[in-house]
């Protein structure tokens, strides 16, 4: 917006003054953006500095230690069991992603393309779930899953998460299939493809980018899930990374270097995924919301 105006030819003095004012605004803007970026990054820097202090440090300072204790990360991985915690999270996330992705794709296709009675109403029922807090379902899940013997197993989190992830996934995949021109599936049908062949051979291949985004978001949300994992897996041996961290912080909050090392360990996978696939994450979270 401040980039325009070059075409006009005001008197020299006015132009100079305006340019100077614009430069001032630019510096001010840069400053604000720099402050915003630093505000996001500084907490990580502080945590990183704390993570490489000697583990007997009671009060880590904001300074580079004389000798960085890189072995804190290894210790957090093994003796503080963050490796095992992350394995649990990985099992759950990798269980949720294919099941939820498949269900959401099929249902999204059904609601977008196949002629279902009352598909609008069905869709509204699914979408309502987007606003339902986990608090509303976690207590009955705890008591109702007990008799089936899946409480304290990974399934106790995988199955409810697949259900809870349906609203977003169905809305996402439905929007994708609606964006595919009807003429494409019509052409397939005229060529003699039945509804199943049309889906698997023609429509499914178009869904690859949308599915990639969905899979990444599902992985992220499953990895980060806290409330369900905390309540439905109470067995310390199967704790996930977030719930492990949550209990660690309550019990060993004083061992700041190890706690900080563990924190950095459990955020590493999602940060790496985000950095590699940020376009997917940002567009998924923004468009998914707007649609």
């Amino acid at each position: 917006m401040s980039g325009g105006g070059g075409g006009r030819a005001p008197r020299a003095g006015v132009g100079l003054r305006r340019r100077r004012r614009r430069a001032g605004r630019d510096v001010f803007g840069t400053l604000i953006l720099a402050v915003a970026a630093v505000t996001v990054l500084v907490p990580f820097a502080a945590v990183f500095l704390a993570a490489i202090q000697p583990t007997d440090t009671l009060v880590p300072t904001l300074s580079w230690p004389k000798e960085p204790h890189w072995e804190n990360f290894a210790e957090a991985w093994t003796s503080a069991r963050f490796g095992a915690l992350m394995r649990s999270s990985a099992v759950i996330a990798l269980g949720v992603v294919p099941i939820a992705g498949l269900c959401a794709t099929l249902a999204g296709y059904a609601l977008a393309v196949l002629k279902l009675p009352a598909s609008g109403l069905l869709f509204a029922l699914f979408v309502a779930g987007l606003a339902l807090p986990y608090e509303a379902i976690v207590i009955p899940l705890y008591f109702d899953l007990k008799p089936f013997g899946i409480l304290n197993t990974y399934w106790a989190v995988i199955l409810p998460l697949v259900g809870a992830f349906m609203p977003f996934g169905i809305a996402w995949m439905r929007a994708h299939f609606q964006s595919i021109p009807v003429s494409i599936s019509e052409a397939a049908q005229i060529d003699g493809a039945g509804p199943l062949a049309t889906f698997f051979r023609v429509m499914l291949p178009t869904a690859r980018p949308a599915l990639t985004t969905l899979g990444l978001l599902y992985f992220l949300w499953a990895w980060n899930q806290f409330l369900l994992a905390l309540i439905l897996i109470r067995d310390p041996a199967r704790r996930t990374a977030p719930t492990g961290l949550g209990t660690f912080v309550q019990q060993y909050g004083q061992n700041v270097p190890l706690l900080c090392a563990g924190t950095l360990l459990i955020i590493t996978p999602v940060v790496l995924l985000f950095l590699f696939f940020q376009r997917h994450f940002i567009s998924g979270l923004l468009q998914g919301a707007v649609k």
């Binding site: 105006g5 604000i32 009675p117 807090p133 608090e135 599936s185 409330l227 900080c260």
Partner: protein
């Protein structure tokens, strides 16, 4: 409306129209045009087959959703009308649990605190997002991508980890107090999360830290969708920056503001992770939120009925709020 597919052509059309009216735009149906040479009954059979396949496609998702979301939710509502300790038989309590939700101080605090967090999770981030997005959009320079990545980062982190980080930052001897000492404000040092007067704001700021980036990126995308010619025209008419914002940017971003509010309000009302990792609701119940309260009611106090009543109030409130916002976003 979810009855079995109907056989007669007339009814089928009316059903489909009803569904179309409920669901908004749908593409013209490929089956409506009859392939040459096909008889009416063949078309009907094909369409019934398509409906069958459609229901088959929908079934797995519907089953998961029904079994693990809808039924638990309904069960939670049912439990909320009973006195139940989680082990034996429950006894009918009528609306007594709801009366407690609105009268017991800790429970009332949990709800009002969650609503108050909307200021930190929604209002401040949306305003900050508007400002930051304006600045970024006005520059269109190198670094926009990197900036967006950095600002968006908090949004993808596990919130427990964020809480843990801030618990360290806010600590009695933590970095914030160290910086205060360095710059000569050692007198202001305190345990920010343990102090009755600062804990709530301190926890709220964590929420602002998390959601501001999302709001900024959302607003930025919205601004970049606004037709630049509108600004050209406004400038030719002699409109100032304030008028530009008032008449072009703000109306153009209406939808983005509503969406950002919706997402962040839902997370404000369900702010469990951050509070669990930082304060557990303390000191007293200054930072208590429904999630932590529910956890304590179920696992420490064995008051499952009251916990379910609180959860039901929370979910009803969230659903109403989202529905209202949704309507606001549709109106023009």
């Amino acid at each position: 409306m979810t009855t079995a597919p109907v056989a007669t052509g007339v009814r089928r059309v009316s059903l489909r129209d009803a569904a179309g009216a409920a669901g908004g735009r749908r593409p013209p149906s490929p089956g409506r045009r009859r392939p040459e040479g096909a008889t009416a009954s063949e078309v009907g059979r094909a369409r019934r087959k398509a409906v069958g396949i459609g229901l088959g496609f929908l079934a797995p998702a519907a089953a998961f959703y029904l079994l693990f979301v809808i039924l638990p939710w309904l069960h939670s509502i049912q439990i909320s009308f009973y006195d139940w300790d989680g082990v034996g038989e429950g006894t009918w309590a009528g609306l007594r649990n709801y009366a407690k939700v609105f009268s017991e101080p800790a429970l009332v605090d949990a709800l009002t605190n969650a609503v108050g967090f909307i200021l930190f999770y929604t209002v401040v981030p949306v305003l900050l997002g508007l400002i930051l997005a304006q600045i970024i959009a006005a520059r269109r320079r190198r670094g926009e991508g990197v900036l967006r990545t950095i600002l968006f980062l908090p949004q993808i982190l596990p919130l427990v980890a964020v809480g843990t980080v801030f618990r360290y930052l806010y600590g009695q001897d933590g970095p914030i107090n160290q910086v205060l000492t360095w710059i000569g404000l050692g007198g202001a040092k305190r345990a920010w999360l343990g102090d009755f007067s600062t804990a709530y704001v301190a926890v709220g700021i964590v929420g602002t830290w998390v959601t501001t980036g999302l709001c900024t990126v959302l607003m930025l995308a919205g601004i970049q969708k606004i037709d630049p010619e509108l600004y050209e025209a406004a400038r030719l008419d002699g409109a100032g920056k304030a008028a530009e914002f008032r008449y072009i940017t703000a109306p153009g971003l209406r939808r983005e503001v509503v969406v950002a509010s919706m997402i962040t309000m839902v997370s404000a009302l369900a702010s469990f992770d951050v509070v669990y990792a930082t304060t557990m609701g303390g000191p007293g119940s200054v930072t208590m939120v429904p999630g932590v309260m529910i956890y304590q009611l179920v696992f420490m106090a064995n008051r499952v009925g009251v916990a379910c009543a609180l959860a039901t109030v929370l979910s009803a409130f969230t659903l109403c709020l989202v529905a209202a916002l949704n309507r606001l976003g549709r109106e023009r």
